[in-house]
Structure formats: C-alpha cells, structure tokens
Amino acid sequence: MRRLLSHRHAPALLFAAALTLPFVARAIEFSFLTRVGGVVGLMMLLSLGLNMTLGYVGLFDLGFIAFYAVGAYGTAILMRAHVPAPLAAALAVAAALAMRALLGVTILRLRGDYLAVVTMGFGEIARLTLNNLDAWTNGPKGLQVRPWRPLAFLGAIPGLEFVRKESNVQFYFLIAAAVYLAAEASRRLENSRVGRAWVAIREDETAAQLSGIPVARYKLLAFTLSAAFAGLAGSLFALWDQFVTPESFVFWESTLLVAIVVLGGMGSISGVLLGALLLGGIPLLMEATLSPRLIDYRYLFFGLILVLMTLFRPQGLLPSARREAELSS
C-alpha cells in the first residue's frame, strides 16, 4: 500500500479513477453515489486545508468550518449581486484568506489547548453572526443562489450528453479537480523549505526558532493559506447546492475535520484523503442504505472507530512518509 501510494504516478492514477465514479453510479443506477462523491470531495478539500495548520504545524483549530462558511456565504452574497460565478468564487476565497490572516495575527500567540478553545469560540461566533446578520445573510432562513452549470459544455461530447443536465456530475468533476490541485499543491509545499519549516515547528518550536525559522511568521502563513482550501470548498458548496444556511456550519463539522486529520495521519496527504473518504463517506452511505432504526446509532459506530484508532494506531491510518534523500555519492 505504502509503496503503491508513493509511486510517482499514483496521484494522477487515483484522480483518473475518481473521475469514473459518475459513470459507475449511472451504470448501477445509484446516482446518489455521485452526490456522496462530491460531498466527500468537499470534505477532502477542507481536510487538506486543516492538514496545513493542524497536520504540518500542529496548531489545533476547532473552528475551521467558519472559513468554509465565509467561502459559501461570500459566494452566495456575490452571486446575488450578479457577479459572475468564477469571480464570486475567487473573491470569496480572498475574503476567507483575509479573515483568516486577521484572526491569525490576533490569536496565534496562543498555544495548544488555548488556541483550540479560542478557535472553537470563533467558529461559534461566525455561525451566530450568520444566524443574526439578517440584512446580509437572511438569518436562519438562508440564502438562495442562482444556478450555475459550469461544465454544461461537456454535454456536447458524444457519450456525455447526460452531463448537460446533471449538476451533481458537473460539480463532482469540478470538486475532483479542485481536490487534485489542492493535494498537489500541498505535496509541493510539503517537500520544500516552507513545508520543512512547518513540520519543524510542530516537532519542536524552540529548536525551530533557534535553527533560524521565524516561527510566528511561518505559523501565520500556514494558518492563512489553509483558508484558501476551506474558502474554495465553501464556494463550490454554495454554487452546487444553490442554498446556504447557518446550519451547515456547526461545531460538529469542525470536530469531524479534526478527526479526519488525526485519523488519517497528521501531515500525511494520502492519510487525510483516506480519512475524509471514510469519515465523510461512510455516514452518508449509512444514511442512504441503513434502516432508519440503525441510522440513529451511526455516531456511536463513529466514536467507536475513533477510540479504537487512538488505542491501536495513534499515528494515523497512513502516517506521513518522509522524503528520502539521495545519499550515495
């Protein structure tokens, strides 16, 4: 498994395999699968974002979902102002980055548990603001977003006619591409001066500082950049669902993301993607397939998995592999 995943072409092959999902779903007449795939993809994007702060730098963030909300609401509000969708998405991502930087400047002096508590508070404040800022967000009633069909042109290709009408399929492709790019960007940063500095800070902040790394600046950089993935995920979510309400951005979602990163393996891209697939996908599939009586127990299973993981595999499902240096002369 490890060797397979570290192969040079593994990411591209996995991406290609993922692209076949809508066709499989169509073949087995279970179109809900494509929707599950899209939701899992959004989870993956969010988890890759959180992986940058929690995974690489070790900053505990229990309010990450707030920046998903900024992306989603930013896009919704801009779409209502008749901004073209791609521009709305770009601006929403920029807004998420800006807010994240602002938050980071004020709270990153805190460490460990204190940081976790403050970010948790921020997440709740964000949700309450969305709930109460009626003039902008329409409160708990939520905002409608005008439809956007990004990949309708694919319908012109023979064999892909069905894509023209299916927004689920279009957004699935779009989200898959975003996940691929986010994973590739993470991988490139991880194996660079910046990525090494981040991991060094996680491993030993004092030693990192005394090895020449301006720790505060690098923490802020990771903290801020992670919001790009969250903002993008939120934006795609708003455009896809055409509806946003504060209900989508509850504390539980932030907790779930932390669980995904820890379960998958802190700082491990493949681990985080697998974690998102399992923790994001399984509950949804359970909802679709289990009898209503069992659905109520799904979080019980979920908790059990987490407890077992911490006991038997605390380093995560796929712990990060370190890059090999060329040692022969």
Binding site: R188, L189, R196, E203, D204, T206, L210, S211, G212
Partner: protein
C-alpha cells in the same frame, strides 16, 4: 590583534529577584574554542540563552562580529552567524536525519511559496543544493549512512552529532554547544572532542558548556568559570583548574 568575534560586556539576566547571570564579561576570538564551566545552576545555560536570543537579557552589551545582537529574535541571531545545540537534545524527531539538517539551512535559503508551487528552476536548484549540503554535513559528522532514518530512531550519540550538523547547516561563524558530551561514555566523548576540533578547522569558532574535565582540558584554548551567575575565573584550562576560587566553587571551602 583583530577585534573579537563575540564580545560580551557586563551582561545580566534577572528573573524577578533571581540574578541568573550577573555582570558577565567575556570575549571570544575568531578560531578559538572556549569552554564555560561551573557547578549546576551557575547560569551557564541562561548565559547561552541570552546570547542566542531565547532571553532578552536585562542589562549589558553583546556584540557579534562588530554588531550589537542582544535583544534580537533568535532567527535573526542565527542569520548573523550564531548557531547552537541544546543540553537536552531537541531534534525534529519525526523528520529524517537529512531533513533535520535541511531545516538548519533555512536562514541561508530564500524560496517561499511560488518557487515550490510552480517548481521553478531556481527552486529546484536551491533544493538540490540544500540536499547536497545536508549530505555533506551528515558525512562530516559521520551519519551519512543514517540520513534517511527518522531522528527519533537514531542512537543517542548520533542524535548529539546530528544536532551539530543541523547547527552547522546555517553556516555559523560561532557554534555554541550546550553540554555536547552529556550522557556520553569516554569513547564517545573522545570522538566528540575530535569532531569539535574538526569544526574549528572549518573556520568555525566554538563556545561550549562542558562538565567532563577531561574534555575541557583536551579541547579548550580558554576556560571561563561561572558560579552563582558570576564569572569567577578565566584563563588557560590548567591554570583555571588550579585556581582556589574554582576549587572552592566545585568542592566548597576546606574545613568549612
């Protein structure tokens, strides 16, 4: 005689009423190996912590290479050419040995986000140079074959040497070693002495805290003795060790 590389004048570090370091004056010339010795709690590590920017210092002057450095952030002091190791080993445990050394290269490299994201030529060249430098330094401290091991899995002595390689990666003019032989057996200590000499041959000046008198005598050009935060003696190793004040600091007064 040229100006000293490091010149400390009347340096103090107080913590509330505790005078951890009080009025220390010390200078280190280029190419020297200077040891700081003294009983536990004498303020040696605190002194090193002020030099490297961990503590700001309460009073006094520290100038390095002709420029004042007291109160600068640790990473700025590294950039000016002072690197250090730690009394309790502080490696990046989950990174490979080679990566630990590559992190040490931070202050001497430039690439930020766009380089790695677009994999520009400048980035790839810098990465290659960083890796080559890491391999060279691993070789220098005798750890080349262990380069891809995680730091946490290295034997104790190797971890100490890896810390030195990481510190050297920043191309310091002054290397500060905080008890480099702590926990080592005599054979390992002797190896470390020869490593410190070879560090000097690279043109790096060395300031170290040391407890093993064998090592102090073997390696130092000069010795400074601390007691209760104050420098009580300084000079050639053998002369200092015969100094009654030094013997008193370690063993107490005769007949007391």
């Amino acid at each position: 005689m040229s100006a000293p590389l490091l010149s400390v004048e009347d340096l103090s570090q107080h913590f509330g009423g505790l005078k951890a370091v009080e009025g220390v004056t010390l200078s280190v010339s280029r190419g020297e190996i200077v040891s700081v010795i003294g009983p536990n709690g004498a303020g040696k590590t605190t002194f090193f912590n002020v030099l490297t920017g961990v503590y700001p210092g309460t009073r006094g002057r520290v100038s390095f290479d002709g420029e004042p450095i007291r109160g600068l952030a640790p990473h700025e002091i590294v950039a000016r050419g002072v690197s250090r190791t730690f009394q309790n080993i502080r490696l990046f445990a989950d990174m490979s040995a080679a990566e630990n050394v590559m992190v040490g290269r931070h202050a001497r490299t430039r690439q930020l986000l766009l380089g790695p994201l677009l994999r520009t030529k400048a980035f790839l060249e810098e990465e290659k140079a960083v890796e080559a430098r890491a391999v060279e330094l691993l070789d220098f401290v005798g750890l080349r074959s262990l380069g891809n091991e995680r730091a946490r899995n290295l034997p104790y002595g190797a971890q100490r040497r890896l810390e030195i390689a990481r510190a050297l990666a920043a191309e310091p003019k002054l290397l500060i070693l905080d008890e480099p032989t702590a926990g080592m057996n005599p054979v390992e200590s002797a190896e470390l002495v020869s490593l410190v000499r070879r560090v000097r041959e690279r043109g790096v000046t060395v300031l170290l805290i040391e407890h093993q008198m064998r090592v102090v005598l073997d390696v130092s050009d000069r010795v400074a003795v601390f007691d209760y935060g104050v420098k009580i003696a300084e000079g050639a190793p053998r002369a200092v060790m015969a100094d009654p004040r030094v013997i008193e600091a370690y063993l107490g007064r005769e007949g007391a």
